[in-house]
Symmetry: C2
Subunit: 295 residues, 2 copies
């Protein structure tokens, strides 16, 4: 009998790889584990998107935080995943575990936050589950739709492409931004219709790790322009790279489209998409991952 | 400021009603909270079904139980919900919260159970999330499909209909049946194609409470034949009514179909669908709910 091995010894990504190997292969025409959302057959013109996100008390939120913000976050981080595939969210189910002694008003606050964000993004909350547990755990599973021609995955980055991020990074947890951020559905739709990215995802674990997901999926490397990374006000550079929970879009554009996007920003007097590096062929050139993950 | 009110003071069903009121109304053509699964638009002939179920360590399972059984249960109780609508399961996403010190082999066992049941019921597990928490919590969200003509809801029971249950009840948690039960997809498909029930659901919280869901949704009452309730071997009558987690089908049939089903059982020398009562018009005739719920 082999010895006991603890999860914190192997890390979250290694665990996910081990678990994914146990599961049966998905059928042809289905994109399973490995992108922001699963991509499922739907209709002639559309794919169905399916994603889920779980949050735990004292890990992703505390009982001192605004319950409406917590409800918002639980749904919005899923909406962010749908947006990053080029899709629009549609239907959600919400599960909540809570101690028997929880204040009803707190849970109602969480649901008010869920309701507000659902309304704002035209999501219908159509079901759920509630159970007893020692601490509050919230899980949202969200469906979305995407036109086949609008689908963007992590795997399309090409050498020469520029890497962009849709906003400043860092300090999201400490500043409260993680409870109030707006998922980038509009930004993603704008990009897809005008400058369709070759690869896209949202930043939840932190720029370095998430950019490496794109590199690994696309079989490429990156030359990061580290000083170009936009840093959130009041944050250090290290926080911008290490904190995570930014829920900004991270995407790659062909050089031609990159220039057009920069020209558009100049013309419109806005700067909302920040170029932060260039994709290169050398796969070994990954980003040095800082220690921030939920494990 | 109003006083603090705890969840265990108002109960699970009252809480769900309060929370459901907070959420925005679902669009026309969508069935939201209140049945085994949500029913969503899909194609000309089919509805999409969407459901979720959460399980907590020391509430729905313990660390001494077989991890493969736990994985099985997490998926199978969702499959049971899809079956009870007349549907077949298709795609699932799985979230798991776990302490950093959890044995990797335990989690792998859970996933082996998930994988085995997914394979047996042709479900693809296409995504998930894993987070840190003090105890293990597993959430599965499951999609399914149902032909429009096969959809069965809780709301169709008519006075005169007979009430049936698909198997003996009771002792599921103590006997380990809750870790190894087979969700009644075959049974539900058989019924729908041959004796389409007027209402159907699966028994998860216990016969009395679940039958009352059908009564409430259908606006009817029941005359239960309590001694006809099939009791699982080794169980008391009280356990059969109070334990829950049976995952048998509870359904109603018109008197004509009820007789045909009984004739079919006699002809085939099988007795798998047990008549346990009759639907009556008097709404006040509900089942006296025992105290078993997860709250």
């Amino acid at each position: 009998m082999k010895g006991r091995m603890q999860i914190d010894k192997i890390g979250e990504f290694a665990l996910i790889e081990r678990l994914a190997r146990i599961l049966p292969k998905v059928p042809k025409g289905v994109l399973g584990i490995g992108d922001d959302t699963a991509v499922l057959p739907f209709s002639k013109d559309k794919h169905l998107l399916f994603t889920t996100d779980m949050m735990a008390q004292d890990v992703h939120f505390t009982m001192r935080m605004d319950p409406e913000g917590i409800g918002h976050k639980a749904l919005a981080c899923n909406i962010s995943d749908i947006a990053a595939m080029g899709g629009k969210p549609t239907y959600a189910v919400v599960s909540i575990a809570m101690p028997a002694k929880t204040d009803v008003k707190f849970i109602e606050g969480v649901y008010k936050g869920l309701a507000r964000t659902a309304k704002a993004f035209k999501v219908s909350i159509v079901g759920g589950d509630s159970i007893k547990a020692d601490k509050i755990i919230i899980n949202v599973a969200l469906l979305g739709e995407v036109s086949k021609k609008h689908l963007v995955m992590r795997s399309g980055a090409q050498p020469g492409d520029w890497v962009f991020v849709s906003g400043p990074l860092g300090g999201s947890f400490n500043s409260g931004h993680h409870l109030s951020f707006t998922p980038c559905v509009k930004e993603a739709q704008f990009l897809i219709k005008n400058f369709k990215p070759s690869a896209m995802m949202d930043i939840s674990d932190g720029l370095p790790g998430d950019l490496n997901h794109i590199l690994r999926s696309s079989g490429v490397g990156v030359k990061l322009w580290p000083e170009a990374v936009p840093v959130y006000r009041g944050c250090t550079y290290e926080q911008a790279l290490g904190d995570g929970e930014d829920y900004e879009l991270l995407f790659t554009l062909s050089p031609k489209k990159a220039v057009k996007l920069m020209q558009w920003q100049i013309k419109k007097h806005v700067f909302m998409f920040y170029p932060i590096g260039e994709i290169i062929a050398d796969k070994k050139q990954r980003v040095n991952v800082k220690s921030f993950t939920h494990y």
